[in-house]
């Protein structure tokens, strides 16, 4: 039985065919394809907005590499993204969807700031390490809530961790408007500036990069060792890839959930305290332009692999800097960054289709 080709088939004579094995090359190429597609979308958006696309492109994607200060800013903004995404990726691999890194980041910042504000005079050289510790514990404590509710009451961690973001934001607002407000701060909603001993020093003269970057890179290596070389990391991967197999093998779901959320929360907490003890230098009502949410995209673009995440966090940091530059130089709203971030993830998810499938040209058999 021969049917005439439909118009669609003539215009698009391809069909999707499942690959025998997922393509490793596509897994790596997909983020690049997504990045290019996002940049092209950006060009179109700039055109629609009446900007010279080449000028806009230079401001957005090239200028952030201009000099040592600019590169420092790139690394500075990449740090919290890297920290949050490394932790989230460990959870995502095990199908634990912690999307509340933003809240864990905030509570980490609050806990670390408590050390800075109330202990820096007596603690001396121990101040910064204790702040970091407090930050990590703060983030872990906040992430422990969805972990406890999920393991004890089967409550969905996506919704709980997300709700806790709003609660953390209100808590921060309460502290900087209320008890922690700087009495000499002209009523601004912010704390006292941290003492010298509670500030992370710049790594390189003339930049704002701090030791938090080194910490993040070390943690990236540790995260890689954890997933690739430890049994706990293996158990979590199995739980993510084949939940039934994990159950048969007797791997504890509860342990995976706790581990994923505590690691994710702790890393996000470190990101939070590194921000307030680094570039910000005090606690204020808003301490993150959505790093915790952008980190979700970073984790996916980085293929949930620690080293991929390091690269992806640089790309995401570029988008933040590009958005700021576009606001200053082109008078575009900096929220254009969010537009780019969202479309990047869309393109990535679509391009990922070709990891498992490929396009095949439809060849019609000619009747003899």
């Amino acid at each position: 039985m021969s049917q005439p080709d439909s118009l669609l088939q003539r215009l698009w004579p391809f069909r999707l065919e499942r690959r025998a094995t997922p393509s490793a090359a596509m897994r790596l190429a997909s983020p690049l394809i997504a990045g290019v597609a996002m940049a092209l979308t950006g060009l179109i958006v700039f055109l629609i907005l009446g900007q010279d696309p080449l000028v806009a492109f230079r401001v957005f994607f090239v200028a952030p590499f201009g000099g040592s200060y600019e590169i420092g800013e790139l690394l500075l903004k990449a740090t919290p993204l890297m920290l949050c995404a490394l932790g989230l990726a460990i959870g995502f691999k095990a199908n634990v969807w912690n999307i509340g890194a933003e809240g864990q980041l905030i509570v980490g910042a609050i806990a670390g700031s408590a050390v800075a504000l109330f202990g820096s005079e007596s603690l001396g050289a121990l101040t910064v390490p204790l702040m970091m510790l407090a930050g990590a514990i703060g983030g872990m404590a906040w992430a422990a809530i969805p972990a406890f509710l999920r393991t004890r009451f089967h409550t969905n961690e996506i919704l709980v961790s997300l709700m806790l973001v709003y609660i953390a934001q209100q808590l921060l607002g309460y502290l900087v408007h209320g008890p922690w407000k700087d009495p000499a701060g002209y009523n601004f909603p912010q704390s006292r500036a941290f003492a010298e001993a509670a500030i992370l020093p710049a790594l390189v003269e003339g930049t704002r990069v701090t030791g938090a970057l080194i910490m993040a890179l070390v943690l990236a290596v540790l995260a890689w060792l954890f997933t690739a070389k430890t049994h706990a990391g293996y158990r979590m991967q199995v739980a993510g890839l084949a939940p039934a197999a994990a159950r048969y093998a007797g791997f504890s779901d509860t342990r995976n959930i706790w581990l994923a959320l505590l690691v994710g929360g702790g890393m996000a907490g470190l990101a939070g305290i590194s921000e307030v003890a680094g570039p910000i230098g005090l606690l204020q009502a808003v301490i993150s332009p959505g790093y915790g949410f952008a980190a979700i995209i970073v984790a996916f673009v980085g293929r949930l692999h620690p080293f991929g995440i390091v690269l992806a966090s640089l790309l995401m940091s570029l988008l933040y800097l590009g958005g700021e530059a576009a606001q200053v130089e082109l008078q575009l709203p900096s929220s254009i960054t969010g537009l780019f971030q969202g479309s990047l993830l869309f393109y990535l998810l679509a391009a990922d289709l070709f990891i498992g499938f490929r396009l095949r040209r439809i060849v019609r058999a000619v009747a003899p």
């Binding site: 409550t155 969905n156 997300l162 709700m163 609660i167 969202g342 289709l353």
Partner: protein
Amino acid sequence: MNLDHLIPILVSTVIAATPLIYAALGELITERAGVLNLGVEGMMLVGAVAAFAAGITTGSLTIAFVAGMLAATALSLLFAFLTLSLQTNQVATGLALTLFGVGLSAFVGRAYAGMPIERVPKLDIAGLSDLPVLGPLLLNYDLPVYLSIALYFAVQHFLTRTHAGLRLRACGESPTVAHAIGAPVIAIRYRAVMFGGALAGIAGAYLSTALTPMWVEGLSAGRGWIALALVVFATWKPLRVLLGAYLFGGVTVMQLYAQGFGVEVPSEFLSMLPYAATIIVLVIICRDPKTILLNQPASLGKSFHPDA
């Protein structure tokens, strides 16, 4: 507390619940078809900004609501294409939709921030809104409030009393079986996702033209996520969505009135209430795993492809 105090509280409760009813009933249909769309918050925001922009530009609230609905439907179509045609992970794609919607609405809305818009007018049904008690309590809302209740009846009827509703539920329980008996699973799911998008758009439009007639970044403040939680709370049943929405409306309103009654709590803690209530309610419902197991559409969140 006398009646004069109680009536405005109840009235505000109904108004605060209305966007939740729209968004949650939309997501309920989407989920009953087996698709988990975590992008409600993003669709709501885009609907809110589109409605606001259209309302400011044309001066017509009808066009505003249509614009909000269309914008959010377009986003949901993108989600449907990715998850249903390209088989992407529904959780990740839904998160992407929310992140994209937050960014897009902030970007588009920048030009409209701080502008005033005329609020959706309240009706005066049968000229009786001056009637004591019943007048303000029942007969003096804006049109979308009444339509939200009509929508509940429509959704309830569709799901339980129509053939199309049965097929939609089959897609959510077992797409393989639905496919085998000849239901176009993918097409049904497309329609369910777009229905959810349209209603999230209406919810957004209601936010920016009625509940708080203005635009600010992140206007929805997590209401899209609360709507998602409501569907779980309602164990995927329309009537419980309606009741849950009024419960949450009440919690939201409580934070506004508590200080008026001399409750000495910092405003930030009162603002936490709806989010804390969401968590508590989820815990209560999910405590017994059987509740979810028995009520959740069995194939919720799982990809389906007729060729596979």
